[in-house]
């Protein structure tokens, strides 16, 4: 009897690909086979296993091999061995249930042979034309230049790089960022005020989850719901600031001590913060002991003029600048930074932890090299040209085919807003969907508590499609617009 089940277990076990050491092949195979037999129920809980000697004879292995295998499975808790009762299958060996997302019965190895897609979890199937905001052109990632930087960084790194990391981030990256941000964004900082993080979400969590800042937080009446959710998850209430043609109405700031703004290019409505408002919000911060969080998410991309410098440059003690490579390079490189007033540095570092527990140190070194070698500038220049051309083509297509639709906001960034007649936004989003175009209406970005008058519009992310697909996306977009010719 023992023979029959063991042999069948043995055969199944051959598929398990256990790590077989040079001398331990039979022992390991036996362990695997036994484990599998317990798992799939052929060996039921409480079953007494055959004595070493008989199983060894059945299988043609040494007695020690069987004894070893039993001991192993006792150690793992599959089997129990009690004086006088022999070796039995333990009671607690629940089978692996099926997940909602797929069957767990197939051995993992069988899956591993098709590594590019999960057979069970539905892939995020992209729409025919993806004009949702938020993502740069994924086909334009500078693979060769990035690899050059990564290789150089990895080869030149001192050994200590591979030990525990400084929670502030690698000094090489902070120095490179200080230099770059001063030059490209008018930021005033040194490396000691920069803390590297995984991106914007991480920065918000460090500030609000770590107790560095407290709510409520004033935010623009239109903004990313994802950011509002993050802030809410940290237990912080957001208070909407209305927007007008000069940007956020900072004169309407209430008792809040912190405000989150997108001064270079209001997200999503697209205007810059007026110069007087920039000064005014700094004055407010001084007067109230408050702080401005400057979300500089696409500050490098301005097409009609040089980018306006960051508000942070006006007063580094009243502004926290938040940036990342998610728009300029790729969200796959999970790196962002915070440029902090001095009084927040220690608190943010404490919130981050004793050692770097978040941002890939190798990516940090690679980005430092990418910045210092000029590759970042070259890439941003290239993408600026590309996105500028896309925006121009969008404007031209609209002028020709849907002349009643106005593009609002400055020529900047990776998205534009098409203003629509009141009450038509929903149907326009649906009409776009009919044409295979995915995009968002303005309504989804509106703060639920704002008293500001709602505006109808479409947020068109023109950066997302690969270059070859952009023309078709524009055509489909125009076909779906109200009043299209």
């Amino acid at each position: 009897m023992a023979k029959s089940w063991v042999n069948s277990a043995e055969r199944d076990g051959a598929d398990l690909h256990l790590e077989l050491s040079g001398t331990g092949g039979r022992r390991a195979a036996l362990i695997a086979a036994l484990r599998e037999a317990v798992r799939d129920g052929r060996l039921a809980p409480g079953t007494r296993l055959p004595p070493y000697r008989s199983l060894a004879a059945d299988l043609g292995v040494a007695r020690n091999t069987v004894a070893d295998a039993y001991a192993e499975l006792v150690a793992e808790g599959w089997l129990t061995a009690r004086q006088g009762s022999g070796t039995r299958v333990a009671d607690r060996t629940a089978p692996l249930p099926r997940t909602r997302r797929g069957s767990a019965k197939a051995p993992p190895r069988a899956r591993a042979s098709t590594p590019t897609a999960s057979p069970s979890r539905p892939a995020l199937s992209p729409p025919t034309h993806d004009l949702r905001q938020g993502t740069p052109d994924a086909s334009a990632f500078p693979r060769a230049a990035w690899l050059t930087s990564y290789r150089r960084a990895l080869q030149q790194a001192p050994n200590e790089v591979f030990g525990p990391g400084d929670p502030a981030g690698r000094i090489e990256l902070r120095e490179a960022l200080a230099e770059y941000l001063a030059r490209a964004r008018g930021v005033r900082t040194d490396a000691d005020r920069i803390v590297v993080c995984s991106g914007f979400a991480h920065a918000l969590r460090l500030l609000f989850g770590g107790g560095v800042l407290r709510g409520p937080l004033a935010v623009e009446a239109y903004g990313l719901p994802f950011h509002r959710d993050l802030i809410a998850a940290a237990g912080v209430r957001t208070v909407p600031l209305p927007l007008d043609e000069h940007g956020a109405r900072v004169d309407r700031l209430g008792p809040e001590r912190a405000v989150l703004l997108t001064p270079a290019h209001q997200f999503p409505t697209g205007g810059p913060l007026h110069a007087e408002r920039r000064s005014a919000v700094i004055d407010w911060a001084w007067a109230r002991g408050g702080v401005v969080l400057e979300d500089d998410y696409d500050g490098e991309f301005r097409y009609d003029r040089k980018p306006v410098g960051a508000v942070q440059g006006l007063d580094p003690e009243r502004v926290i600048l938040l940036g990342s490579v998610s728009k300029s390079l790729s969200p796959a490189v999970r790196l962002g930074w915070m440029v902090l007033p001095e009084r927040y540095v220690e608190g943010v570092l404490a919130a981050k932890g004793e050692r770097e527990a978040w941002a890939s140190v190798l990516d940090q070194l690679s980005l430092a090299d990418f910045l210092a070698s000029g590759s970042y500038d070259r890439h941003v220049r290239r993408m600026r040209q590309r996105y500028r051309s896309r925006r121009d083509r969008l404007v031209a297509a609209l002028a020709a085919q849907a002349p009643h639709v106005e593009v609002t906001g400055v020529a900047a960034g990776l998205h534009a807003v098409l203003r629509l007649p009141p009450g038509t936004e929903r149907s326009a989003v649906k009409a776009a969907a009919w044409q295979g175009v995915a995009l968002d209406g303005l309504a989804g970005f509106r703060h639920p508590e704002t008293d500001m008058e709602a505006a109808d519009g479409l947020v068109v992310g023109y950066a997302t499609p690969p270059e070859h697909a952009y023309e078709a996306a524009l055509e489909a977009l125009c076909r779906g617009l109200p009043g299209a010719i």
Copy 2:
């Protein structure tokens, strides 16, 4: 008068390295010079600037260049332009104060030329002999093999890799992990139950900060204070479980619904969890509807026998396995994973966010290749030999030079515990420090609320020093031990 300050500003501005476009050289240089003059106080708040024409003549530039520069600085908020009052320096232009960590007066560029060390922030100066636990040998990072995987991953990646990421982690990595963990650690899972994260700290935060699990959490009476702090920061109370020679006293579990264990190799005391305790804790989890968090931090490193499989293999629905590459590869690669019971998958993904906002996607792909190509196995084998040899040398050195000092725990992992006579730990840590040896006593790992009898001992991390420095570290360690010969 205008000429004198502008010219001096102009000279200073030459060091600023603004991004000069082909045609915008003079304009940009002028903007920089003006900004700098405002910053350093040469242009005081309220000062009226010279008319376009006179400044243009002074500098030999076109009037439009000056008008453009003024407009730019008005837009940035440095200057104000009011009807009838001309262009003036704005009121709010606070200088960048010095940080505690260093002077901010030097322009960032000057710092960037010495990128390897922060001149102001004290580097973590390593002790002569670093025998603190927790870090693998940083000199052994497999740079060439990792770069090979990274290059291959980057070159073969489909474009969508550079777009928004799946918060579960890349499917390639989850498939590779499922296969590897089954083979090497007896884990039962498929890719759909794995969620990739930045490491152990991130995993704990997702579980407790995200509301997936609630406190209190039972923990081993000896453990990493850093983990206890993380849990406390999420508002969760930890309750200590005493340890005995069979590991954690899971029979002492109280009303808690979750317990964090290090079954393969109790951290730091070094014993494995006894087979009966392994079964018992699963029974407890079933009976109470609870869950076991299995911290499999060094499960691959066992020297006296094959590693005991993970408790997770006993019952995937009652155990969350937490792992990372921090010990096996390097903490610089910020990647970890959670193998989850089905019922927690959605909650953890929700806590992680809509898109991957944490773990580097490029590192994920690289690790997937590193695992699938066998490089990970080769590296672990190599490190297993190295650490085993180090442990053997430690035991031999102690036997020869400090025979009264006992090494406790199984032959495994990256650290050992040296038991000391009661009341001698503090002085032993100090004596070690006198010999230039940094290490920790057991006391620092003890849960402050445990009623378990305190043990005196030294936790020796034998993995940290580079190979060439290990012998000297051992000698220094032995010299400092009580009763050393």
